[in-house]
Symmetry: C2
Subunit: 554 residues, 2 copies
């Protein structure tokens, strides 16, 4: 059985939850274990991860989990993975620190075997030899992998762009990549996320002139929000705050813990005495303070969303304050984000966001010309685009067409579950394995998760579904009637039961105790209703039905 199998278990033909298996005989390596945020349709679900059935069925063959970098779509599924597959995990120290942070919520996983690796380090695992290569991305400490197998070398890029001026001055290791290309590569698997963008993606430093401009103009408080993992971005905000003599307060749980991790690992330089405590913000002159805060996507319970509706303990937006969202708008989040921006504009803040050029955000993924550069350096015999939806992988294959005259034999457009088989005689699709999604329901994403409840939706029939239906008058914010509760497959909620009457009161109370402003923000309201009703139902019945608040406008 001298065949190598490439088995994408997630992230090909769908955005997020990246996971790839390489199998040779009885040895399986897994690259990344990511999650994705659910689509709108999956009301009531917080996270989605790949189905692990294939790995579970081959548990004795799984040798290791290799991580490319610490973004949620690459490590968010590690806890669930480790609760089923007790194998060693390899990644950079920063990536593993982010994994450890997630693992804190899973006390059942007692002794995870986390092994930090360095770029250029080589691991031997069964028949595989894995070399890690540093790549640049919107995050620090990211790696690609060159995996030497008995049938040839496989290169997996992870997520990357070719940033000529990363803020940490750690350049993309093009030399090692070129070396492999020179010696001959069987298969390249490369990040397709931005294959539909022409040209080059801007460097992480491209935001600096615009940031300087913002610091120059700001006369009052400066509020910066970005992904907590955007260490490049945070470094520049800290540097400029130092330069402009502003103190920095960090708000939001993820922003605090990730900056601390990066600082401890020497990946983030925090100037001496620059940090102040959140409770000191309002006592510091407005023109002497910068806030770093999480919540760019308008997540209902994030620090920034709470600031926007003036529901944060330590800060109130005041007229003249500047708020900059240094992040992209993830499709599907527009309405939540724009509502949040409108709330802040209403309080008199000047809010800077995506569409304003020059950019206050740049992408972390390679555009067409960078993808071509990597293709040309590697010159693979076979090519498989990874990380992207169908249209992006299809574009990426078009970008590789010119290599036909330089040794490229074939490109394969695989979707999650497709198996590609490679051996001495070539490569071919060879069947499918079980893939799918597992839905996970937690308290909420960005706040302290009181308990992590993992429920496969297949068991929906066991716990049933509860739909609280609320009629809200959007303009007055008033509810027109007592909330209705509809359910199926949830026995306690029989019509007219005391339980159901009380549940309606629980929802009514949530509505009463919400501010006028919260009521106009349906994202916040649904989350509050869901959290309160869930607490009540778990207490009363010890069951966990899916709760889907429906808000009707009247």
């Amino acid at each position: 059985m001298n065949k190598l199998q490439v088995i994408p278990l997630g992230g090909l033909g769908e955005f997020g939850m990246n996971m790839m298996a390489l199998r040779y005989g009885d040895d399986i390596l897994v690259i990344d274990s990511g999650m994705m945020f659910p689509e709108d349709e999956l009301l009531g679900v917080d996270l989605v991860m790949p189905d692990l059935t294939y790995l579970r069925e081959n548990v004795s063959c799984v040798r290791a989990l290799l991580l490319t970098h610490g973004h949620e779509d690459h490590i968010g599924g590690v806890p669930l993975f480790l609760s089923e597959l007790d194998v060693p995990v390899y990644g950079t120290a920063f990536t593993l620190a982010l994994v450890e942070r997630r693992l804190e919520e899973y006390p059942d996983i007692e002794e995870p075997k986390l092994h930090p690796i360095q770029p250029r380090q080589i691991l031997e695992i069964g028949p595989f030899k894995v070399e890690f290569m540093h790549v640049t991305h919107s995050m620090v400490a990211c790696v690609a992998m060159a995996i030497t197998t008995p049938v040839g070398v496989v290169i997996h890029t992870g997520d990357f762009k070719v940033d000529p001026t990363p803020t940490d001055n750690e350049l993309f290791d093009l030399h090692t990549l070129a070396d492999y290309g020179k010696r001959g590569v069987l298969l390249l698997m490369s990040d397709s996320t931005n294959s539909d963008r022409p040209g080059y993606t801007e460097s992480e430093r491209a935001v600096r002139p615009r940031f300087e401009d913002i610091f120059n103009r700001a006369e009052k408080r400066l509020v910066f929000s970005c992904f907590s993992s955007s260490i490049h971005r945070i470094q520049q905000i800290l540097d400029l705050s130092q330069e402009f003599r502003r103190k920095v307060a960090i708000l939001g749980r993820s922003m605090n813990s990730v900056t601390e991790i990066a600082h401890n690992l020497g990946l983030l330089e925090i100037p001496d005495n620059i940090l102040i405590r959140p409770q000191d913000i309002m006592d510091t002159p407005p023109n002497r303070v910068t806030l770093l805060i999480s919540g760019t996507q308008g997540e209902p319970m994030s620090a920034l969303s709470r600031v926007a509706v003036d529901n944060h303990k330590h800060i109130s937006i005041e007229p003249g304050d500047t708020v900059a969202l240094s992040s992209r708008i993830i499709p599907g989040n527009e309405k939540a984000i724009f509502r949040m921006i409108d709330h802040m504009a209403r309080r008199g803040a000047d809010v800077l966001y995506g569409s304003m050029n020059p950019p206050i955000h740049v992408s972390g993924h390679a555009s067409a010309e960078e993808l071509r550069l990597v293709l040309n350096l590697v010159r693979p015999r076979f090519f498989v685009p990874i990380h992207g939806e169908y249209r992006q992988m299809a574009k990426h294959i078009r970008l590789a067409e010119h290599l036909r005259s330089s040794g490229l034999e074939a490109s394969f457009l695989l979707e999650s579950g497709d198996v590609l088989e490679l051996d001495a005689s070539g490569a071919r699709k060879a069947g499918r394995v079980t893939v799918g999604r597992v839905c996970i329901d937690s308290g909420s994403v960005d706040e302290v998760v009181e308990e992590m409840v993992i429920r496969d939706r297949r068991h929906l029939s066991e716990d049933g579904i509860v739909l609280p239906i609320i009629a809200i008058n959007r303009h007055t914010g008033r509810t027109e009637t007592l909330p209705e509760i509809v359910s199926r497959g949830f026995a306690s909620a029989e019509d007219g039961s005391e339980f159901l009457q009380n549940a309606r009161q629980v929802v009514a109370k949530t509505l009463e105790t919400s501010t006028q402003e919260e009521k106009t923000d349906w994202g916040v309201m649904k989350e509050k209703i869901r959290a309160d009703l869930k607490r009540y139902i778990v207490k009363e019945t010890a069951r966990r039905p899916l709760i889907m608040p429906v808000i009707l406008e009247v």
Copy 2:
């Protein structure tokens, strides 16, 4: 009572459904009567329009409805408006032709008083004198209005950009605008949609080089999709098809009727003998045909969506075909649009869309520098940003700040319902009037509407709500169980009733008769389930409950 009241009834602080009233004593002029597409949360509703309560209560004062241009967010509400308020309607011939097209669906409105106007024409209506001025936009035949009132001149821009090279060579009438500015303007109301974009918006002709490039490269069929009202865009596609010796087939109801209207009015030049019938597409050599097709937003029943899942009578996408979406992605539609693109990529088409530069789409709304140009020409005493969400109107007010030294006394950020009062002594906010939204439920947007059902959601309690709940396995596309139906306030749907059992069978049958591909596209499935179930319920009960399909992934 020598006061002018400016009363926005829709479109300020919300995107779409623009409507503005001007009142002096007992005379009211209304500018535009638009609709908006509902937000995701309004499941089961097709259109949303402003509440007409204020006009209804002052019906004897309403003198006329003035239309700036024919986009749906400015004329979509005209039928409902006319069914309650029988007043004369003024607009350009093209705008009125689009209104007539909408009115065909409302046979109750027997003799609408539609009066075509020309730019530079002046109307006297009660105490008002209205002059129309040609403006450029993504559509042809658009006007701004200068309304001379007893307290001063009010200018309403409608939607505009300052296009230096419109395809019809009709330039923005900056001269008349400047003239008014010279003589003194009391109040300017100006389009804020793109106030958060720096610089200038590109001309409609900016897409031409990219279109040429597409024609040059295409070796097989060329499929162009744009809004049916984008006459500038359609003209360029026709011209290039002529130049490249391709015949043109027009697909989709709205695309056919709007091009016909524009052609009849001399606004669209259709080269002789260029059109072919849809049934002749597949018999014409692929490199000799261009398709013009509606459905850029992935609307489930549009021509393009049907083509994407290979469910169109006259065309099948084949490998090597090129599909170009010359339109923006309206926020909220991303998922439907990208699913449609993925379907076409799967059939081997090269799909060109939004993010690919140079642009195949340009905006129709003025960016910051154009807005400043209009502000500087008009030099108003008071300024009210219109057409935009809060953040965009707030930005627009910032753009006007420099005029403080040139006579601007105050800017007012009004939201729908706020009343602004102007008289000799100045301007001030003066209370609110009733505003709100009315939800309209129709069969579907782009297809023949079998019956137009207008139901105010306030009457939800009369007709109730029905939620068909379907569990679909996304990967296999199989439904796991017989569909469930949950309802409230809809008496016929008692648990265990025969009616309910039959309704479940109706939904089950919809699922059975759908193709595998349709089943993976929830937008299509929800629309089909809703349409079929609605037909059944209306037939059986003559009632029209709100139907909200819920699809669960298992």
